[in-house]
Symmetry: C2
Subunit: 342 residues, 2 copies
Amino acid sequence: MSELRHDPINRRWVNIAVERSRRPSEFHFAPPVPPEDEPPCDFCPGRESSTPPELYAVRESGGPNTPGWLVRVIPNKAPAFAIEGDADRRGWGVYDRMRGIGAHEIVIETPVHRVKPHELPLLQKAAAFNASKARIADLLRDPRFKYILLFRNYGQAAGATLHHPAQQIVATPVTPPAIAQQLETARAHYHHKERCLFCDVIDQELTEGSRIVHVDDGYVTFAPYASRFPYEIHLYPRRHQHQFTDLSNAAMEGLAAHMLEVFRRLDVVLGDAPLNWMLVNAPNPHAGVRRAGYWNTLPWDFHWHFEVLPRLTPLAGFEWGTGLYINPTPPEDAAAFLRDAR
Amino acid sequence: MSELRHDPINRRWVNIAVERSRRPSEFHFAPPVPPEDEPPCDFCPGRESSTPPELYAVRESGGPNTPGWLVRVIPNKAPAFAIEGDADRRGWGVYDRMRGIGAHEIVIETPVHRVKPHELPLLQKAAAFNASKARIADLLRDPRFKYILLFRNYGQAAGATLHHPAQQIVATPVTPPAIAQQLETARAHYHHKERCLFCDVIDQELTEGSRIVHVDDGYVTFAPYASRFPYEIHLYPRRHQHQFTDLSNAAMEGLAAHMLEVFRRLDVVLGDAPLNWMLVNAPNPHAGVRRAGYWNTLPWDFHWHFEVLPRLTPLAGFEWGTGLYINPTPPEDAAAFLRDAR
C-alpha cells in the first residue's frame, strides 16, 4: 500500500511507497566525474581568452582574464536569455510572446577541472557562494528581471554538458510558476497565521526528527515529507531569512560547510550520482510592471532554501500526464541512510 | 536571441530558441526497441498464468487467461495505487496524507513482443484504444476516483521497465495539478467568451499552418506554439468533444490511423526515439467529496487530446528550479521536418 502525502509549500500530492522501499544500491546511473586524464577545458586556468571577458572574480593574483583566480564569473557564450533590450510583450491571437531578455552567467567554482561536489575545499565553496551572491545582488538591481535563479547541473543525466564544476545564474523577465506557487502558499499562510510557512515546516521536521539528514546551529537539511524523488533533500537556514542576498559573507562559510557535509553523505550512500541543486529564493523586490498580487512580495514572508535532486529515476508518462509524482523511497528511509553515512 | 512564448492552456512561459535550431540528428539516445531474439516475457501469449487474472480482453479465440487474445488488460502486479478501501484523509501538523487508493492497470496492446509504435496494425491499435476506453469508462463509475490517466512509456529514458508494448491506466483519488490547471483556464475562457479554449487554439493552428504536423477529417496534430521539448506534439479531435469516452468505437479507427501516421513521421525524422504519450482527459464527472469549483466541471468546457513527448534532452536545474522550459528547437522547425517526412 502506498500513501499520498501533501506538500504544503508546493500544494502537490506525492505517492510514497511505504511498504517496500528501493535501497540505494538498486539505482543505476552513469557517474558524472570525468576521467583523470581529461585535457583542460575552456573553464581551466590559462584558457581565460577562450571565454567571454569575466564579470567578476575572486583572485589570489593576476589581473582580469588571466590565471590566479579562485572563482571566476563569465557570461554564458550561448545564453538562453539575452541582456539587451526590452521585453516587447505582444499578443498573437490566443497566444502571447515577448523577447527572451534576461541574463545567463557561469560561476566557475574552482580552477580544478576534476572534483566531485563534496571534495571542494571549504573556503573555495564559500568563495564560490559569495561570488554567486554578489552577481545575484547586482542582477536584482535591474527592474526588468523578476527572478534570479542559481543552480548547478552535475552529470549528463542532470543536463550538464561540461565537466568543470560550475554554477549557473539565470535572470528571467517573468516570475517562474514554481516560485509563484511557493510565494502564494507562503503569503496565504502568513496572512492567516502570522507565521512563516517554511519556519513551521522546519519546526515540525526538527520535532519529528525522522526525516532530518543533517543539522547544525545555522542550517538544517531534511528529506521533505512529500519528496518527489528518492533522496531528494532540502536545506534551510534555521533562522528566518527572506532572501539569499541577506546572508552575510561571514555566514556563507557555515552554509558551505553544511552543504559539503550533505554532499559527502550523498556520495557515501549513493556513490557519485548525477544531481541538480537549485536555490529557491524570494523574487526580485525591485521588479517593475506588476505591483499588485503575490509577486510584489512582502519583505518577510519568504524563506530562501536549497533543493537537491539526485537524478536516479527518469520521469515517466504518469508524472508528465498529471504533475503528480510516485516516489519508491520513503523520505524517512532516505534520511536514515544519510544520517548514518560515515 | 530567444523568444518567450506563453501557453494559454497551461499558463506557462517557454523560452524558444528562434535563431539557431537543433537539427533532428543532433539528439542522441538509446533506441527503445529490444533485440530480435529477446525471449518471451510475462505479457507474451502462453504466459497468461504469470500475470494477475485479466480484467478485460479482445479475443479471436480461447477463454479468459489463455492465448487467443488481441488485447489483454491486467491489474499491475505492483500497483502504485490500490483498489480497496477509502482515502482516510488526515492532517499531520502542517502536512496532509491519505491512503494511496486508486487503480493501476496494464493494457497489453498486442501479442507481439517486439514492435515499434508505428508498426502496430491499424485494427490492432484501434482494438487497444477501445479496450482502454472500456476500462476508463468502468473506472469512471467509481466516485472515489477523481481522474483516470492513460499513458504509454516507450524506452528506458521514458521510464519504461518492460519492452512488450503496453499502455497504462492509473486512477487517482486527487485531481492532478496538471489537469486542474487546464480545467481552470478552459473554464475561465469559456465563461468569458462562450467558446472552447482548445477549439480556439486548433482554429489558430489550422489558420497559421506553420506548426501543423498532420491533419485529416477527424484529427489534427501540431507542434504547440509554446512547446516545452523538441518535437513535442499534441493531437486533438477537430470536432469539440468533452471527454475521450464520448468517442464511438467506430470513430476509434480514425484515431488509430491518425496516431500511427504521426508515429511513422516521428520514426522517419528522429529514428526510434524514446517517448511518452498521455491522454489529457476531462476529470471524472461522478467524483464525490468536492462539488464546488473547477473540478465539478461542466460537460462541455474541456476538449480531450493526446500529448506526445519524445525524450531527447534531460531536464536540468533551470527547469526544476523554475517550472519554465528552454526549448532549443522551434516548433515551426519541428513541424516542418515532420510534415516533410516520407
